[in-house]
Amino acid sequence: MSYWIRITRLAAGVTVASLAAIGSGIAQDVKLGFAGALSGPASFVGTEIKRGAEIAIDEINAKGGVKGRKLVLISRDDEHNPVKTVAQYRELVERENVVGIIGASNSASMLAVAPIVNDTLKVPVICPATDATEITENEAQKQGRDNYLFRVGMYGTGQGNFMVDTMVKKFGHKKVGLLTWTGGWGVTGRGELQRRLKENGLSPVADETFDNNDTDMTAQIIKLKNAGAESILNYALVRENTFVVKTKEKLSNNTPYVSAWGIAGPAFWKAAGDSAEGVLTSTTVTIDGPQSPERKAFIDAYSKRYNETMSAAVFAVGAYDAVYLFKAAMEKNGFTPAQIRAGLEDIPQFKGLIKNFTRPVFTKDRHNAVTEEDMIMARWTNGKLLEVKFDSKGPYVELDENTKKYIDKSTMKLL
């Protein structure tokens, strides 16, 4: 009889324990949120972010999740519209109870939600795509309160600094011309470039602009050439930049042309074709040219799962690293939003796809993971965006593991 009682008690115990385990497994999924452009002209940005996050989450869950708990991505389409982003962030936090959010596709959206995130929602957000400086340098940061916004991508002041410093110091161009878009991002970009040139003790030899609808930049290019510009710095997107390079070709103009990350994706080569050869762009990540094994694995996972190549690798890679950063913070500190936020500020080292961080990814005063030291300059070479590296002989690109081609500093042509 005592034998049976013992068996029954054992069975009861096992049943209760397994029910509890199952119950805790199901009820305790960790929810991450995302709201970004999944439709419309900016949809390639939002889709890349979502895909990068999905690949990371599935990898983590396949290995057992975070401390045994599975990650779940709840995503929304904000149509690149800040009004929708704000509403969806509220819904994600208040109704879906997400504990972390991957940032949106639109800088305007992030600027709109930043105050609400810091004052009311208090859920950490890591942005892979939006580069307006004030997203992370926000009111809460300035007032010394907890700042819930983080970033793993290019950011405004840093990009301006990087572009100017690279051309002035690494390429030795003291005479720099500006050619910017009169639209929003072009205006802030122009301000950044002028500021950094001034900090370097220089001023632009010419300061030209163009509109959305300009298809012919003849006057601007000739003026820049007459002013003696050794290189032209630019902030604009794919469409206008296509016209710039086509105009340069028409005028047989070889002035080196350097653009901010608006043209760091295959769409530029698709629109401009080999007129785009030799154009430099600043970015954080490129997936062309020799890659690390981890990056190769990510690229393969992406093409296997989605059956196409990445249209904007920088965002997918950023989202992937963002999820892993959340994981690191959760493992260290806990699963509540406040704990995750504090945990993010306390990651001393991190092997990310963007780079191998051997210093703290974020600190209390610096919520931008990628600084100017981490940004790279890339050159459009025969349809591929190759990272420009420097050694004692000067700048070069690697066409593949075995071929190194140096770049002529005054024309950006391959030697």
Binding site: T182, F210, D216, T218, A219, T242, E249, L251, K270, G273
Partner: protein
């Protein structure tokens, strides 16, 4: 000197496009006193069709051109019948809204059919610039200037030397009297709309290798062309072409010698001044109604 010539030449090439589009406005205005306000969108349609036929299906431009002309001509007939004629018949001006509505419809349809990303169309004569001395111009731009000249001469010939041309002029002078004289006014009205649409298609076909093919490509072009048509006088198609070339050159020179940003301000200010000084347009003729 090089600077002036290069800028002016580029500007004239751009102006030729404005002129070609602007002629469409006058064609319909002269016969019906109604305009296709969305002419720019029709240009876009011509461009998108060119992209589809030439790039996606690999058809040679010489065959694409007549196809685009015929397609837009037919569509123009349909659009006129349903978005202009009913309102003309009722004596109302609602054609302003309805032609615009057709235009917006076309943009949305184009976005659905072709997507929103700008795509390149290869220039018909290659992309190596042609050199006239030191000054360079793209073959495609030369083609556009040539097309504008041909249109100029062709229109002149049409209106003065051909019977249908004279019928057009009769209808623009007075529709009622023309029908009394045995001219099928209704047919002339519909035809003028359709021909304007076909012309817009040609303009789109010519310009799309220079710009990129995308649904929004026509909107600003149509607006500038409209301004030029007004400055030159809606009833003077040849004057419109000349004004187009001049306006394009002027835009380029302002960008080159002053500042790119004020180009449109200066241009539209001149339009207002010109209208104030000569309300009927620079090449227009003062209309007087005698009782």
């Amino acid at each position: 000197m090089y600077f002036f010539l290069q800028i002016a030449l580029s500007g004239i090439a751009t102006g030729a496009i404005y002129g070609l589009i602007a002629v469409g406005y006058s064609l319909t205005f002269m016969t019906t006193k109604a305009l296709n306000f969305a002419l720019g969108m029709w240009v876009m349609l011509g461009g998108m069709l060119t992209y589809s036929l030439n790039v996606q299906y690999g058809i040679h431009p010489l065959i694409v051109l007549p196809v685009v002309m015929v397609a837009l001509f037919a569509l123009g007939l349909v659009a006129e019948r349903f978005s202009v004629y009913p309102f003309l018949r009722a004596g109302s001006d609602v054609w302003v809204m309805s032609t615009l509505a057709v235009g917006f419809l076309m943009i949305d349809l184009a976005e659905i059919i072709w997507g929103r990303n700008p795509t390149p169309v290869p220039p018909f004569f290659g992309k190596d610039p042609v050199y006239l001395g030191q000054v360079s111009i793209l073959p495609q731009q030369l083609l556009i200037i040539a097309a504008a000249c041909v249109t100029f001469v062709g229109l002149d010939f049409f209106y003065r030397r051909t019977l249908p041309g004279k019928a057009f002029r009769a209808v623009s002078h007075s529709g009622a009297v023309s029908s009394l004289m045995g001219i099928n006014t209704r047919r002339i009205e519909a035809l003028s709309y359709a021909v304007a649409a076909a012309l817009a298609g040609i303009a789109g076909f010519l310009v799309v290798p220079l710009t990129l093919a995308e649904p929004q490509m026509g909107t600003v072009l149509g607006l500038k062309a409209f301004a030029i048509a007004i400055i030159a006088g809606l009833a003077a198609p040849r004057g419109i072409l000349i004004c187009g070339l001049l306006y394009g050159a002027f835009e380029g020179l302002v960008s080159g010698y002053l500042y790119t940003g004020i180009r449109d301000i200066v241009g539209f200010t001149i339009m207002i001044v010109a209208l104030y000084a000569r309300p009927e347009g620079i090449f227009g003729r003062r209309q007087e109604e005698r009782a």
